[in-house]
Assembly symmetry: C3
């Protein structure tokens, strides 16, 4: 894995900027904005998001002049532009004249105009107009000196159930299945007498229609993800014609359930995403999301396209980011692969439903605010870092498998419990590794897993073709593979495996999963380690498994399956495959992973206290070490003896130990590395 | 009450079988199925449920060949067939070509095709096609040697609000009411100015329409129940033409709120029902449901048509049935009148929304599972029982009144509390009797109550014509009648009684109910027994009643009605009528019923420990005694001295005491009886 | 402020009566009703509510004869009539023939006929028919000797989203905004690209349409309130033509969110309202609502048009009013300005969804009920009071500002927390004053505030034009002004103030509100008084404010804003402006207001124990003093020394002290005053 070049070679530094909507403001504010941007090192405004009606107020009339003006003003003041196509909200005139651009709800009832993301992704009219505006913008601004990157549309998502979509869905299915018989078989339609006798009978999974065929529901999710992806591709290709050298992205949303971002990732030049953790999320939850985005394009650095500088507005409770958290979480992103630190939004709009969302410039317009100060200080610091982290890659020896189809299939499953907790389970395993200061790559069903030592695949309910084979190969060559309850139930059509569970993974795991018990929230069982090392609470689901080759490592403490295995290990080739048959408390996972990591000699570079996060990126100039203190107390961190480090954030030399106060961050390079880097970074 | 003959004289034993959907599976599985059925004593597969599209893939094309084949295979292997008409889910081609077959939701918006039970019960198209397929099947299979019973459609239920239903509803009303004036008067339509001036103005009680006239809501429930019943009748009559000698049933759903099963019961040859208790239900809750089904046709034995062999899938938490519970609950059914023990389902489908529902054969297809073993052992045991329980009836001296119209009226009532808890109240009273090991018959407003000693009618809010008179006669002849709060408020049109509450029961109860107070969940009052025997918590609703002839047995402890009566007894003729004016804690009911039972010399045959259930069925050969240990500890049960019993389950002779381990069951006959039975049972 | 004349000079006493629906009952009941009314001093029946179909059973046929009869019967027995137009529920024939009279839901889907308040307020058909029936009734009954007041329609409310409303909304907007550009600017439509380019593009804020423009949502609420108000005005004007001398009202619903009653108040002759507190509401919550209604027409006495004599039916739990509470709460109304004490309803209907709602005559029809007795005793007592409280006004020196637009804007705001608790906050501040026995006037953004000493404006998020200026004038002249968090954020278009918060109030408050933190329900901070007088819990929202002229009175105890001001005082001219930046526990407010009141020498006439309410009304004859014991214990209240009082309720003379038992009431006048009053009151 080699370091990557900067996303745009013209800007080989961490981009600092964010959403800017000058069209909402009178022109006298524009100059204030530019002056405040300069003051806060806000270098990369994102312009154009939602500007469609401002650029095309009538079907035949375009008004680019204001955009010309502000882009020039921004350019003249030293800004670089992230230029968005405005297609996330069509103008009212379009919905009015061409109602087919509007989405329909899950009963097939057409929406009224309004909100955003309210366009039908299969609508030929929407697609035609979206391509047209993208093309016009590309033609006009491709050569703009400040243009840094194209940002297509905004936060693609949602789903439509209109008759156009129904028609296109049938076309999509006819390409996917060799015949209607093939579809009937793979969808298991004889169940409840749902066999289709003509393609025209297939409809979307309406809320007041067909929700009993899970393969239909699943395929409809895939179809909608594909249709929106086509919208992106059409705009991208229109831009590319005029602007072949500028990278093109669209902003994603982490573990957003609606889109298979792994498939999307292949179509963008660089991943960008909007990071809005709940105020109470643990740092490891956020780290997981960054790693997911880094994984989408196989370790390529990504852009943190949006985060709030202070508070969100759409959560039930929108706490402020505490002082220092914006900086800490920004470096958390950089540590995990971000080459940009950007915000939603530059200035709070005075009206509309986001006027209470945090912004760099609040309604007061004042620069003497805590938030403006924190943004400015961070901006200065990032500027000071220059290119010294840019393109740096992460070398992980542990991988965790995530898969959107798997998630969709899990969510659709009726029984054994309603709340399946797939994402929570991923976060729980991730947290165990995070607490041991071990770097994790997020991988997918189609990823190359052969380079890792440890592969964790929580709740891999759906096994796609070839995955089991690749896992077998991985283990046989010495890898450690960890699976959990709810693994290997179905194939990619959501059809249960004919030989039961864990299906194609039975061989490598050496177990047979006979039954799955569901526990009420107030119930629990215990995991009793066979080596006497401990007992741990488990709950939610308890599978009753049998070792067919595997060795039990722990057994259930109570209930009629007391004494039967709950944790197993199967030696397979040169490696081991583990199975955890129930949902354990966190402390089990912490204890469970330690010996596995030790066996593979996986350890962090430094021994750091709890609450401190450590991460490394390998740049062209050498290793950059990130130390992030998530704790509210100051900590002392011992460094590798006899080595001197430069803290890139303040240019101080550190040796032996470094002290980090609450929420403080250090970015270190060994002195020799730093010399080179300092030279090149100019 | 004489014992009944077997449902079908060709099969004078407990039917063991369940839902089987060969059309979902390739033919190589069919032979495995038959072999596994043989192994598990799975004797009566239910075939045809939801097979419509497989039997009629096009309007003019029928494909019975596969069904011919599998029926013959099953017959050849010794199976007997429960043959279902497939009309619970119409084929997609039908919904597509004749959209009037689809249901409309409670706003009158037509559903899309999909799910099941999604047909309009008044649709002439649906009815025509349903009759046609039933007729074709009857014609073809009436003489099939393995045919045991007809199973029409599946779990009738739900409601439609389409314009066809609106029209039919008006027709139905015109038969029910002598004139529009009559309807206006009985529906109390001048309230809120809702008087109809033309029949055509009457609409279903749309969620976005008329929900203020409760008599309309009530009549619409009756109407929908009747329309679905007509669907059943049409299919039944079509079958009868060709198959006059085979019994016809449809599977019911216990206290399902949508249908008046008492009315339906008159139309079937035998009651069959699907028993899906929540995993946490108490055995007495299940016993109550079986008794309800036994009562539907006045003590005729019924078929347990469906139960899960392991877990359900549609509850929030679907715990496994613990080892032994399947057997215990199966005999619970038999003890209360079941002549069949059947499952949903034989083999788990690989796809669709029920693929996580328990089955005899799991996805693994293996026979070495706990569930398969338990099913097989139970099957063998049932086979061993032969006809020795078949047709046996239950002689109860206590009856409890349940009424669907009453339930519907209670649920519609706005005030004094939202959550009325009718079913819970029935369960609570039933549990008090169950704990005293006393058998209860569930009766209805039109039942003959004269044969009982004790009649309990919890929350009999609606009194239909003649009910009060029959209760008066019952009490005057020496019966004990127990009523509770929320009794005698309205007539069968949901019109409040003109002289207040308990209306026509005022005389027999000797009370006047002046006011009803509603308590918040955290509030309570106390029932203070006038004889000093105890104090009990009461809550939910507290009626302020006056004795007008009755004697107070207990008074309220607190609040402004402290000291006023809460429990009363009225001597009436040779009997007594009791009134309980608030919702008591369970221990009150336990204490309350003991002396009433004692007075009538109602006592169980044996004295058994708590947690053990005792039940008797009188067969042609004599008394069969069921002992079921619901406890997790072993118990010793003393038998009648000097009498020897045969345990029909293992042919062992027992005397003096019998020991039952956790969840164990014994079915005893006195030795003399047994001799006869053993002879005839061959 | 002078006393007011009686609402109708023919009835200078407290009206006692309520809703009466003779059309629901056979005529033999009518005579029973009149006899029972006489017995219970039920003097003013409200007739006609919902009688439309009974008066106009066909489009061209009117049937007033029954109404003639009953009105004459009532008049002959000494009743006076509150005569309602029946337009709250159109006849079924109208909905059937003219479907445009039906409302559409918030997705634009037309309702079916039924319920009430189900008419479109912009429908020309509805308006034409409503005017017609009002006119016919006015023409026929204007000269009826018993006619006391007109009651137009019933509980106006709800909203419609049909295409007629959409068209009228555009017309309404075109009058409100000078141009589409003006609207776009004030609605901040460039946000999310929502700029309208033609008036025809504007639609109601459909649930499945435009909900992102808060100014649209706000204007639509204003529009719907105006449209219903037009319905009222049209009926009122039709009546006025024939009945120019009889007062006209419509019954309001307290803090009903749907209508801007302050605007409506200008159009009625007298305020009337329906008082349905939750059973658990505190007396101060009810007092607040009465004061609100008294404030709607600037201290004019109002009519308590509806209250339940016993229980409601639509709450989750409908507890009975305890004995004495009906009397206590009735005098609570009178003490706060009511000149009528009326009920819903006279007699419980036998059917329909309100049959479990309390009534003077229950289903039993008996007069020997607790409720009938309490009503009768109260009726006699009220009769005894004659005119001695009528028209009396309240002189308050404390005012609290309430504003519907402000409420609407607060509710629409997305962030910083979902549950904004505007009404609860008003209640909390009101309760602090109530506990100090201090009278409060509720005022509005357009009220004259210059006459008060203390003005409290909780959560005045929206500042309408001129409000800040009037508050500045108020303070500068010596007033004390109290504001809280969430004040001064937006202007009347819901546009955030350009200089931040508290916007135009920054000057008078002397603070700048930099940030607002949101706390999870389990979190809290503390208010630490700078003078060491105490610490109080605060939660929900914590604003981080800066004194820009103000003096901090208290600081936050914890979190990163520990030590920053949470309560401030700004001396401004001769007065002070206070700011409370977080939600405090109640005890803070109790302590906070005491010195402010002391400073203004605001104190109750008498020193009374906790739980006793004191109120005064100034009549033409002098001061009437109300003492209400809300406690369950008897209390002794010391009176002003050396003065003798007459208790108007029992004509007893009291001196030195008066004892009130549980829930008891006294209405006192000083003896000299009383002499006059006794003379004139005859």
């Amino acid at each position: 894995m080699h370091p990557f070049p900067a996303v745009n070679s013209r800007a080989p530094f961490i981009w600092h900027g964010g959403d800017y909507n000058p069209e909402q403001w009178p022109r006298d504010i524009w100059d204030q904005d530019i002056s405040l941007m300069q003051e806060s090192h806000f270098r990369v405004p994102t312009v154009g998001v939602f500007s469609w009606v401002s650029l095309q107020p009538e079907e035949e009339r375009f008004t680019f002049e204001w955009l010309d003006t502000i882009l020039d003003k921004l350019a003249n003041s030293g800004r670089l532009i992230c230029l968005a196509t405005p297609t996330a909200a069509q103008p009212a005139w379009m919905s009015q004249r061409y109602p087919d651009v509007l989405r329909s709800d899950d009963k097939g009832i057409r929406n009224h105009h309004g909100r955003r993301g309210n366009y039908c992704p299969t609508s030929p009219t929407y697609r035609r107009f979206a391509v047209q505006i993208a093309e016009r913008m590309a033609e006009r601004y491709a050569k703009h000196p400040a243009l840094l990157i194209w940002h297509v549309c905004n936060e693609y998502g949602g789903a439509c159930y209109c008759s156009q979509c129904a028609t296109e869905f049938r076309n999509w299915l006819q390409k996917r299945y060799s015949s209607l018989d093939d579809l009937n078989q793979k969808w298991w339609t004889p169940f409840w007498g749902h066999t289709y006798t003509d393609w025209s009978q297939i409809e979307p999974p309406y809320a007041n229609g067909e929700r009993a065929i899970h393969a239909l529901t699943l395929d409809y999710k895939r179809f909608q993800s594909d249709m929106l992806l086509q919208c992106f591709q059409l705009e991208r290709d229109a831009i590319r014609k005029f602007s072949p050298d500028i990278p093109i992205t669209t902003n994603m949303m982490g573990t957003y359930p609606g889109l298979d971002y792994r498939k999307w990732a292949k179509e963008v030049d660089v991943i960008s995403w909007d990071c809005y953790p709940a105020p109470k999320d643990h740092p490891s939850d956020i780290a997981f999301l960054h790693d997911l985005n880094r994984g989408l394009r196989d370790n390529q650095p990504f852009l943190l396209m949006e985060q709030t500088p202070s508070s969100q507005n759409w959560q039930a409770v929108n706490a402020l980011k505490r002082p220092g958290i914006l900086r800490l979480w920004s470096y958390l992103a950089v540590a995990h692969g971000a080459d940009a630190v950007m915000y939603f939004q530059w200035r709070r709009g005075r009206g509309g439903c986001e006027k209470m969302h945090g912004a760099v410039v609040e309604h007061s317009g004042r620069a003497d605010t805590r938030v403006f100060r924190e943004v400015s200080q961070l901006g200065a610091e990032l500027e000071h870092l220059k290119d010294r982290t840019i393109g740096g890659v992460t070398h992980s020896r542990v991988a965790m498998l995530f898969d959107w189809d798997n998630w969709w299939a899990i969510e659709d499953t009726v029984g054994p419990v309603r709340d399946k907790q797939y994402i929570q389970t991923l976060r729980q395993h991730y947290a165990a590794l995070w607490k041991q200061h071990v770097s994790v790559d997020i991988v997918f069903s189609d990823s190359d897993i052969s380079t890792y030592d440890v592969l964790i695949a929580p709740m891999l309910y759906m096994l796609k073709p070839g995955v089991a084979e690749r896992i077998e190969a991985f283990v046989s060559k010495g890898g450690s593979f960890i699976a959990t309850y709810f693994t290997g139930y179905v194939n990619e059509y959501d059809l249960a495996n004919e030989n039961g569970y864990p299906g194609p993974l039975s061989h490598v795991l050496g177990i047979w999963n006979e039954e799955i018990d569901a526990l009420y929230p107030e119930q629990s069982n215990k995991i009793v380690m066979n080596d006497g090392s401990g007992k741990y609470v488990c709950n939610h689901l308890c599978e009753i498994i049998h070792c067919e080759g595997a060795t039990p490592l722990a057994t259930y403490a109570t209930d009629f399956y007391a004494g039967s295995p709950v944790v197993t290990r199967n030696s397979f080739g040169r490696g081991n495959a583990y199975y955890i048959a129930s949902r354990p408390e966190q402390s089990f996972l912490d204890a469970f992973y330690a010996p596995i990591l030790a066996e593979h000699h996986i350890a962090p570079t430094l021994t750091v206290p709890a609450g401190v996060e450590i991460a490394q990126r390998e740049t062209a100039q050498g290793t950059v070490l990130f130390l992030l203190n998530h704790a509210t107390d100051a900590v002392q961190i011992p460094l590798q003896s006899k080595k001197r480090f430069l803290n890139l954030l303040n240019d101080q030399t550190v040796q032996d130990t470094i002290t980090l106060t609450q929420y403080d961050v250090a970015i270190l390079t060994a002195i020799d590395d730093e010399k080179n880097q300092g030279a090149k970074g100019q």
